[in-house]
Symmetry: D2
Subunit: 143 residues, 4 copies
Amino acid sequence: MARITVPEIETIMAEELPFAANFGEVVFERLEDGDVMIRMPVDASHMRPGGTVSGPVLKGLADLVMYALVLSRIGPVKLAVTTNLTANFLRRPGTADLMAEGRLIKCGKRLAYGEVTLYSDGEPDDPVCHVTSTYSIPPPEAR
Amino acid sequence: MARITVPEIETIMAEELPFAANFGEVVFERLEDGDVMIRMPVDASHMRPGGTVSGPVLKGLADLVMYALVLSRIGPVKLAVTTNLTANFLRRPGTADLMAEGRLIKCGKRLAYGEVTLYSDGEPDDPVCHVTSTYSIPPPEAR
Amino acid sequence: MARITVPEIETIMAEELPFAANFGEVVFERLEDGDVMIRMPVDASHMRPGGTVSGPVLKGLADLVMYALVLSRIGPVKLAVTTNLTANFLRRPGTADLMAEGRLIKCGKRLAYGEVTLYSDGEPDDPVCHVTSTYSIPPPEAR
Amino acid sequence: MARITVPEIETIMAEELPFAANFGEVVFERLEDGDVMIRMPVDASHMRPGGTVSGPVLKGLADLVMYALVLSRIGPVKLAVTTNLTANFLRRPGTADLMAEGRLIKCGKRLAYGEVTLYSDGEPDDPVCHVTSTYSIPPPEAR
């Protein structure tokens, strides 16, 4: 069972992650322990000319899923921070909703590591972007 | 000599990169062949609680420098796209202007590769973030 | 169905990949289209003091799986080369057989991308190393 | 001034890094604090058909430089381990000596980060491979 709820993470997003406002109305379709899926309806503000979603929106969305993955395991620890994010862009997305599905691969005492796959709704086998990321977890006395 | 000018790249940013509006008034302090430096004054809209610049702004700024690096070598080819971006976050920046300094390491016919270092103005030896990135360059007939 | 067989890939390994001799007797437990699993019995030559497998052996094994993934889709194209390899080391392996399981995430005309997970036999949920990699595929006229 | 000497690091290599035997007679051309350059004469054992150095040798050499960079700053701490290694392969090297030049970008209490550029002797501006890497540093009580 996840150690954080959707309302808790939405509160953290509103208070701590002003960038998340760029995503519009994201929906947590799944928030389990180490297993998260978000849906982001694509609108004009996300696009670049050519009818594709801009890179920073893709990376930001992946980072949000990764953050949710970490909190799903360790609870609402606000000081967890990204130390590495590696994004591979595989094709241009269209205008369908973007699905961002993440999996926590490792969660140790000091470091967490996971992967996030982004795809256009209905096309899970032809992903848009694949991201791996490491988070640094503060020691208990610093949380 | 760079194969693109600052006004040309600012036009591309305005037309093609709506995300760049999030950066506010960035200044190209240097735009040479394979050698670019941008200054981004930090304001409240870039910050997250704790007084630090948000990750997507850092990655987006690095991506903009990388794009400028590629265009500085090949000219205004709009279809060049990021295929990989690897960001390592090294410390939290403060509120000083962010400097983003990039160097093109390789520019072949199909792939370009470079690195971008972000640091707070006045502290080039204690960087905030180090990014490497690969761009895919379209073949001449597709540009 | 894979477009290469185990004997074909073993011939390429013997002729083209002298480094593979360091792996000893690897066994292809699965070689399907975009889906490969190799078993590598660990012996003293792979170890570093402390009873753990050396990093270059892990990365080399992941690279071999990635190569097999690409050939499983495009057939025996010898000129395919790695352009990026990102390895995240998650814990020290013991002396059990190392399992290396790979999945091709994307295979376009010019670039292929996949991931490889390494784990000690019997412990698939506590991986040793996770690798993502991009291969450059030569155009048909250059193969 | 470096906190480790060339004889000290050669002893660690002989005792702890059996893989380093694959490199033959590497020479530390420079071992300063956070600034290391190694020369590796290329011989037949490093090559793959086509007259190029094999990928695992390149990555292993970069990893050795990264390890030396960390020890140059923190002294002979044997338990420092790689957590991430990202290698970008830029062109095939020839048979000239391989030069591996590294720079420590950050060295905190828990994590160190640096970059290594590999090039064929005499061609520093046309690199073969560019590597970034993160090391985890054990806390003082665990060294």
